[in-house]
């Protein structure tokens, strides 16, 4: 069965600190993995995606994620968090052209 687990419901980090958001997935076929960000009252913006090739992918706003097939993980990282990064982050998995399965999201709070 397809599913995405984001074990951290809420994370608080200090501005300038590093960040890692965890994502584990279960998918029966070749997974296509995504991270989306949702600011309050806004839609979903794609941060980055992994289809194949290099397992470390770079995205917008200084984010990166690493695909680890052996751990079924696709964790999102950022070396130095900015106050504007405060938002809800969703990991998603899907197949080629198929609908996406989302995790429950991780809410990021950034403190000065």
């Amino acid at each position: 069965a397809q599913s995405v687990t984001q074990p951290d419901i809420h994370i608080t980090v200090s501005e300038g600190a590093s960040l890692e958001l965890r994502c584990n997935y279960s998918y029966g076929a070749t997974p296509y993995l995504f991270w989306y960000v949702q600011s309050p009252g806004q839609g979903l913006q794609l941060l980055l995606k992994y289809f194949s090739g290099d397992t470390l992918v770079q995205g917008i706003k200084g984010f990166e994620a690493e695909f680890k097939r052996s751990q079924s993980s696709f964790n999102l990282r950022k070396p130095s968090v900015h106050w504007s990064d405060a938002a809800e982050y969703f990991c998603a998995v899907g197949g080629l052209g198929n609908n996406l399965f989302f995790g429950t999201g991780t809410r990021l709070t950034v403190i000065p």
Binding site: Y36, G97, L100
Partner: protein, 114 residues
């Protein structure tokens, strides 16, 4: 930059009423989707649409729901008789083609059923 738009941004309706949520996908996109997000929960897939027909739907998408692409630009989601549990944020998404495999999401319509 082209974007997916949705109207209205917020719709309030009485239980049992019909609602139509509207979406304008990006113009050269071929695949269309509806998702919903109940407050505090994860985003859930409802239906996908390609070549003027439903290609996939979830268990949530029962007979009360329907989708239509009436005029080549709009993509609508109709809920025939709304229930309290239909209250959610509804997101439309579109994708250019399967090879690109990137869905672009609209800002959502918040539906409140009273």
């Amino acid at each position: 930059e082209p974007e997916v738009t949705q109207t209205p941004s917020h719709q309030v309706t009485q239980m049992g009423q019909e609602v139509i949520l509207r979406c304008v996908p990006i113009s050269n996109h071929l695949y269309f989707y509806w998702y919903r997000q109940i407050l505090g929960q994860k985003v859930e897939f409802l239906v996908s649409f390609y070549n003027n027909e439903i290609s996939e739907k979830s268990e949530i998408f029962d007979d009360q729901f329907s989708v239509e692409r009436p005029d080549g630009s709009n993509f609508t989601l109709k809920i025939r008789s709304t229930k309290l549990e239909d209250s959610a944020m509804y997101f439309c998404a579109s994708m250019r083609d399967r090879g690109v495999n990137e869905q672009f999401f609209g800002p959502g319509t918040r539906l409140t059923v009273l």
